[in-house]
């Protein structure tokens, strides 16, 4: 309220910009060029190029250096316009002129200053002509972009190698290359007061529930923010349960993952400037799946999936179980194992709880250091880590060898989560569980697990229950959760919300000799 009564200069500027944006570009070139020059005052990268069309009419071209293809502008816009002989009258207007002389493939009329600004910012040069209201924007964007590379965070053995880049257009083109049907829709919107980031909602019409897309659209358009720098910004602003440690959207760098999600009726949000695409709605189990699960033989995938579930539990529970058993339930350990643990613990000065916390925190620190450091130094960290927390600490009697083993296994287990965000959420849960284990023993762990499961049951991803298929039990969909069913058995799509087209393939496609030949 106070800001309205006494607006700051930034707000004044914003208001002014908005006011200008709504104005149409007038017929008087002098005036509008003056307005634009004022607008872009201080922007050294904005180029104003006045010239005469056919040697008679004043015109000028406005673009941002580095965002548009200067060579093409010269060849396909300025040169033909300057050499044009017959000029259509002002009444017939620019469109006629453009259609006669300009060889640029994509053009778009602009009428207001807002449209001009948008076009220019997206690398489209804008042409304004004297005596005529409005102008034309040409689709000649060209800027430096990263080449398509293999995604670093999601490597695999089998499957496509290409990953998304920072350029939205490239990313959408990659999706379109996979899903060629015109039913793949890519809705555009811009988010961010200053960054004006382009965001695309991708979905397949008919497969994705209409209400789902509407909800996504509504949530995105509610965002009022200075800038969007990464998909994480958007994720935080549109997720269902912001107070949860669990990610409610999946991010991926791989077009095949997004395509698979779209084919299951999910929506994807592509954001300019980041290779990470958001996928929603998801369930917790989709965070435990890799695209490779579907490219390998199903038995292998099922085995690996179970391995993953096992190690998920391990990464969550192993240290706390160790602490609980060692401090409360010594009778549960087989005798000889207890003796060797007792022997190893004999010189350790700390209680098991403190020992576990020290080791876990050290491990987390090493992991974080390993990520942030340059690659050349990263190796040093792991050497120091292995020597210091492994060998030396045990020999010095600061920690016991079994604890080092427990922490190491836990670490490996948490790296087995195919999605980094899921792994880190589980890692975070580990600490309260260790505390509970050190306070109430197995009872505490049980309480902790109950709390976690309750929480997971209560959260949703874009309206879909997080533990869907298990909590809101869907027996038919277990074939893609407990196991990875053979492709020829998975005839139905997972049901997310509402009733969508359930059948995804013809039934009875199990291959065999009776299907071939003849």
């Amino acid at each position: 309220m106070t800001s309205n009564a006494n607006p700051s200069s930034a707000q004044l500027l914003k208001q002014e910009l908005q006011k200008l944006g709504k104005q149409p570009v007038g017929a008087e070139l002098e005036h509008s060029s003056e307005q634009l020059r004022q607008l872009y005052a201080g922007c050294s990268d904005v180029v104003f190029r006045p010239f005469l069309i056919g040697g008679q009419t004043n015109a000028f071209l406005l673009y941002i250096d580095g965002l548009s293809d200067a060579e093409a502008i010269e060849k396909s816009i300025i040169a033909p316009l300057m050499q044009v002989q017959m000029q259509p009258s002002a009444a017939e207007g620019l469109p006629k002129l453009v259609s006669q002389t300009i060889t640029v493939s994509s053009t778009k009329p602009v009428t207001t200053f807002a449209q001009v600004m948008e076009a220019v910012a997206n690398g489209m040069p804008v042409l304004l002509r004297d005596q005529e209201a409005g102008g034309v924007a040409f689709g000649l964007p060209q800027w430096e972009k990263r080449t398509i590379e293999e995604p670093g965070a999601e490597s695999g053995i089998r499957g496509p190698r290409e990953g998304f880049t920072e350029t939205l257009r490239v990313n959408t083109s990659m999706l379109r290359r996979i899903i060629k049907s015109p039913l793949l829709k890519l809705e555009m919107m811009t988010i961010g007061e200053y960054t004006q980031t382009n965001v695309a909602i991708a979905y397949i019409k008919g497969l994705a529930d209409e209400t789902l897309i509407e909800e996504t659209r509504a949530r995105l358009s509610r965002i009022r923010i200075d800038g969007i720098l990464e998909s994480g910004n958007i994720e935080e602003l549109i997720e269902d349960s912001p107070w949860s440690p669990f990610p409610q959207m999946m991010n991926t760098e791989r077009p095949d993952v997004v395509a698979a999600a779209l084919l299951e009726g999910r929506a994807a949000i592509l954001i300019e400037g980041t290779p990470f695409v958001l996928v929603a709605p998801i369930t917790f189990f989709s965070l435990l799946q890799t695209p490779e699960d579907y490219y390998q033989r199903f038995m292998v995938s099922t085995f690996i999936r179970w391995l993953r579930y096992m190690f998920l539990l391990m990464s969550l529970l192993l240290p706390s179980l160790y602490v609980a058993v060692l401090t409360y339930h010594q009778e549960m350990v087989p005798g000889s194992l207890l003796v060797s643990m007792a022997t190893a613990r004999e010189p350790v000065p700390f209680p098991a709880l403190i020992e576990a916390l020290i080791m876990e925190i050290t491990f987390e620190a090493l992991r974080e250091a390993g990520i942030r450091l340059p690659k050349q130094v990263g190796a040093a960290v792991s050497i120091v880590g292995a020597l210091v927390i492994g060998q030396a600490a045990v020999q010095a009697g600061l920690v016991s060898a079994p604890m080092v083993i427990v922490v190491a296994i836990t670490g490996i287990a948490s790296f087995m989560m195919p999605r980094y965000i899921a792994g880190i959420a589980v890692r975070l849960m580990r600490f309260p569980l260790i505390m509970l284990a050190g306070t109430f023993g197995l009872l505490g762990i049980m309480l902790g697990i109950i709390a976690i499961v309750l929480h997971m049951c209560s959260i949703r991803s874009l309206g879909v229950p997080y533990l869907s298929t298990l909590a809101t039990f869907k027996g038919r969909e277990l074939k893609d959760v407990l196991i990875r069913g053979p492709l020829w058995m998975m005839d139905e799509r997972p049901r997310l919300t509402g009733d969508s087209d359930a059948i995804r393939q013809a039934p009875g496609q199990m291959p065999g000799p009776q299907h071939g030949g003849e």
Binding site: W243, Y328, Q330, E331, S336, L338, T343, P351, P432, F440
Partner: protein, 394 residues
């Protein structure tokens, strides 16, 4: 709801401070008891615990220079009016808390066994820590002596006893079973009897083990007698606990020996009452592989094998009859479980004899019916090391 969650999460660090409370106990503060022995001394009970020394093991593993059988256990004793009293006095002499969760061996001394083990048993089943599946033994002589030795193999003499029991060469009774049997129909139980093995000539005087050597028979909670090792084997047959046995018996007129091992046997007690005559049929199905044949008989000959089978049967029957006779007429205590068998089949008759079961038990006629078979003859069929002519083929 969110604010409440936040406030709740602020409480979480307090758990760390709480961890000193409740019944948390660090492994370093526990005394890992491996065995407990009960003895009687001038009307008081002496409890002796054997516990592990966690530190000495690192020394052995670390340098490798230590003696191969360094002592890994130690013992300490406490005396009191009853077990709890004695243990509380013992605890005063120990810097760490007695922990019974890993104690799997309890030994009653001879003298105490004779005067009754009920008090001790009550403590063991009442206390939450001792395991119901721990093994019970009776010692020849003082029970504490069984714990004083340290074995060349295994960590402790208690572990040796446990391993020996697990091999089922001797009889194995758990705390739970002991309690159930003493409460059961015949109110009698057989416990393995342990004594100390004479140490090797070259070994240190205490570097030996205690081992299972016979059976102690309890009537009510008192020890009434022992079974020799041979009779104990017969008892195992009667109890259907035959496993990993080797039976050796003579065949033919030459009385050369044949050994069968391992024996697999099924023993069924079939009670029968006709008029005043109570009969117990012990039906045995036994089979095993030939491991030694000292005779010159060729076991692949059907006729000879059949004779061997008969000899095998005879030997088994001899074992069983010996044990049944000894238990029935010398000890007069039903540790075999005849009472249970009769109770199940003849509940009405049982009611009549319940009060005087011990007398009735002696009247029962035991009929042993054995069907034994040699299954395989081992790697060779002919007797080893004999020229062809000397082998008896028929």
């Amino acid at each position: 709801m969110i604010a409440r969650l936040m406030r709740l999460s602020l409480l979480l660090p307090l758990f760390a401070l709480l961890s000193g409370c409740w019944d948390r106990i660090e492994l370093n503060d526990l005394l890992l008891v491996t065995a407990l022995a009960f003895d009687q001394e001038k009307g008081q009970v002496v409890t002796t615990v054997q516990f592990l020394l966690p530190r000495s093991q690192t020394a052995v593993g670390g340098t490798g220079g230590g003696s191969p059988a360094a002592k890994q256990t130690s013992v300490r004793a406490g005396k009191g009016y009853n077990v709890a009293d004695a243990l509380s006095k013992l605890q005063r002499k120990l810097p760490r808390k007695l922990f019974w969760g890993q104690c799997k061996v309890f030994i009653f001394g001879e003298e105490l066994a004779k005067s009754g083990i009920r008090d001790e048993l009550d403590f063991l089943i009442r206390h939450p820590q001792p395991r119901e599946r721990s093994y019970m033994f009776v010692s020849r002589g003082k029970a504490a002596d069984m714990l004083e030795v340290y074995p060349p193999l295994e960590r402790s003499s208690a572990e040796v006893l446990r391993e020996l029991s697990d091999m089922r060469i001797g009889y194995k009774v758990t705390l739970q079973e002991l309690n159930m049997k003493l409460k059961g129909e015949s109110r009698a139980v057989a416990l393995p009897l342990v004594s100390i093995l004479q140490p090797n000539k070259t070994a240190d005087p205490f570097q030996t083990i205690s081992y299972i050597h016979g059976t102690a028979i309890f009537h009510k909670d008192r020890k009434v007698g022992d079974l020799s090792e041979k009779v104990s084997q017969g008892l195992l047959w009667l109890l259907n606990e035959v496993n990993e046995f080797t039976v050796t018996f003579p065949i033919g007129d030459s009385n050369r020996l044949v050994s069968i091992s391992p024996i697999k046997a099924k023993v069924k007690l079939i009670p029968y009452i006709k008029g005043d005559q109570w009969t117990m049929t012990v039906r045995v199905e036994a089979q095993g592989d030939m491991v030694e044949n000292d005779s010159n008989w060729n076991p692949t000959s059907e006729k000879l094998l059949d004779q061997m089978d008969r000899a095998f049967e005879k030997e088994v029957k001899r074992y069983i009859d010996l044990a049944a006779n000894d238990i029935q007429h010398r000890l007069k205590t039903d540790v075999i479980g005849f009472g249970t068998a009769y109770h199940r089949k003849y509940p009405k008759h049982w009611k009549q004899v319940e009060d005087r079961w011990d007398e009735q038990f002696q009247q029962i006629k035991v009929v042993t019916k054995v069907h034994a078979r040699i299954l395989r003859t081992g790697n060779v069929s002919n007797p080893g090391g004999l020229p062809e002519e000397e082998i008896k083929q028929k």
